[in-house]
């Protein structure tokens, strides 16, 4: 039922998403044990191939792999020596010759994980590609909401911030819509793709207050200064005043609304300090669930038997 690679939420159907979330639910229990390790992927190798800087996602995948007893190798080619697609594929093929059981890929350019998957035998898991998708982040966000709210169906989720450049937004729009939530986006008009409503089936708002009315989940996105070339808003202070979330603005959302952020937070910009650190913020739940969710993804996707192994196995 589940395909070989995990490249984007767009490729998954509802059953597959729910299977990943259910598996993650069971993986959470392992994180509560004294011995946080199971032998499932013993003797298997997972390569973290990160062309783009990442601390949190890489660490999360590394812990997830190690809790399943896999050997996890971090490979971070300096981006300067790898600007051409040609050499990216060469790098990937070299790694493939080392017989990994999964390759976790992050790259600044959309579509690179798919190109790598085309040439590799090993399953490829997308850990973020340009402004395209970041499927494990969206799955862990969805998992966290389901954990707190008990359901996804019928909820209203409002994603606030740089929708245009955000792979987190894109993957989250897919995952929440596929599970039956209403998704809204709110941002300055310069940061919302023009065709987003028909293309993604979301409602776009340029007023934070309007977007929050009746909302169950407020998801603030990071202002990614490194991706912003050109003026998308007059100043950070102005952005913070109009689209930054704080307790006063949260009054417009439902009384039991929760606040999420994929991290790292620009404190005082997307979220006020008090909101970042306390309920209804579930930001640390997101981080904790990230490990369990990635364990589920590695369990379901990594370690496919080679053709010879299948022939020799007796089941």
């Amino acid at each position: 039922m589940i395909g070989r690679d995990l490249l984007g939420i767009e490729d998954l159907d509802r059953d597959e998403i729910e299977r990943i979330l259910d598996t993650a639910g069971h993986m959470c229990e392992i994180g509560t044990r004294d011995v946080k390790k199971v032998p499932t992927l013993r003797g298997r190798t997972i390569i973290n191939l990160f062309f783009e800087a990442s601390t949190r996602t890489r660490a999360s995948f590394e812990i997830a792999g190690k809790r399943l007893s896999a050997d996890v190798i971090n490979f971070s080619p300096s981006s300067s020596s790898l600007k051409k697609a040609e050499s990216i594929l060469d790098t990937a093929k070299t790694l493939d010759a080392m017989d990994p059981d999964a390759v976790v890929v992050r790259h600044g350019v959309a579509g690179v994980p798919r190109r790598i998957a085309d040439v590799l035998d090993a399953p490829v898991i997308n850990a973020g590609d340009g402004a395209h998708e970041h499927p494990t982040q969206a799955l862990l966000d969805c998992f966290t909401v389901r954990q707190v709210k008990g359901r996804i169906d019928g909820l209203t989720v409002t994603i606030v911030g740089d929708i245009l450049h955000s792979r987190v937004a894109r993957s989250n729009i897919h995952v929440f819509r596929k599970l039956g939530a209403e998704v809204r986006v709110a941002a300055p008009p310069t940061m919302i793709p023009a065709d987003i409503e028909p293309t993604f089936g979301v409602k776009a708002f340029t007023s934070l207050r309007e977007s929050l009315e009746g909302t169950d989940v407020v998801m603030a996105l990071r202002i990614q200064n490194e991706r912003l070339e050109g003026a998308f808003f007059p100043s950070v202070r102005e952005y913070s005043a109009t689209f930054g979330s704080d307790r006063a603005k949260l009054q417009y959302a439902k009384e039991d609304a929760i606040v999420m952020h994929p991290g790292p937070i620009n404190r005082g910009v997307e979220l006020s300090h008090d909101l970042a650190d306390h309920r209804p913020s579930v930001i640390l739940d997101q981080v904790r669930n990230g490990v369990a969710l990635r364990m589920a993804v590695l369990y379901l996707f990594a370690g496919r038997p080679r053709a010879a192994a299948v022939a020799g196995g007796t089941g």
Partner: protein, 224 residues
């Protein structure tokens, strides 16, 4: 096995569950395959009471007992066993649930990953006498996986095994300490515990021909 009912003597209690015109002792499983009842609710009850007595007799310090169910079949059995131990010997025994899936030895040789089931261990197992409870024991591989999983939760003083049905066909040197019923079966058949539909929590052990198995000679509905 004195006191155990034969497989067809209690058939009328399952009449509502059986297909029209089905021979006694035959029910139709949810998957549509013919399912034969090997042990009905009363038989399961009797076996568990006897096993509870045996556990109390053989355990020097029964206050150290800790039941650990292997899902899914072991869960209702462990619950009943804990009740029996309370009635027989006034023991309050913790009941845990331990999924063995992530410890299986065949996980990566099959294509699709099996679904995980819940694990809930209410307290530490250190220095307890752990009794693993499973519905059906065949190859012994699940018990092996359960022992490995158990060791990740601490160091029990001893580990024992309850198997309601022992099918034989052992592939590992695993001994069952408390057997409900020895039932030689065809290796291609599937034997498992299930809740009787609308039976108010009544349980039964059924046997079905394995899907995809090349029509085992004992698989037909007309089998005695």
């Amino acid at each position: 096995m004195t006191g155990s009912p034969t497989q067809s003597s209690e058939a009328p209690t399952r009449a509502a569950d059986a297909a029209p015109g089905a021979v006694p002792g035959t029910a139709v499983g949810s998957d549509g395959a013919a399912a034969r009842v090997l042990l009905d609710d009363a038989g399961i009850r009797r076996s568990l009471v006897r096993i509870a007595h045996e556990i109390v007799e053989r355990t020097g310090e029964p206050e150290l007992l800790y039941l650990v169910a292997i899902p899914n079949g072991g869960i209702p059995l462990a619950r009943r066993l804990a009740n029996d131990l309370r009635e027989i010997a006034d023991l309050v025994v913790p009941v845990g649930v331990l999924d063995t899936t992530l410890y299986r030895d065949d996980l990566l040789t099959t294509g699709e990953r099996p679904a995980l089931r819940r694990t809930e261990m209410p307290s530490a197992v250190d220095d307890h006498i752990v009794v693993l409870v499973d519905d059906v024991v065949k190859t012994g591989r699940t018990i092996r996986a359960a022992m490995d999983a158990l060791m990740d939760f601490g160091r029990p003083r001893a580990v024992q095994v309850v198997g309601l049905i022992d099918r034989g066909h052992r592939e590992l040197p695993i001994k069952i300490d408390y057997v409900g019923k020895n039932l030689p079966t065809h290796p291609g058949e599937e034997v498992h515990l299930r809740e009787v539909a609308d039976g108010g929590g009544a349980l039964e052990i059924i046997v079905t021909a394995a899907p995809g198995a090349a029509a085992p000679p004992s698989g037909g509905e007309g089998e005695p």
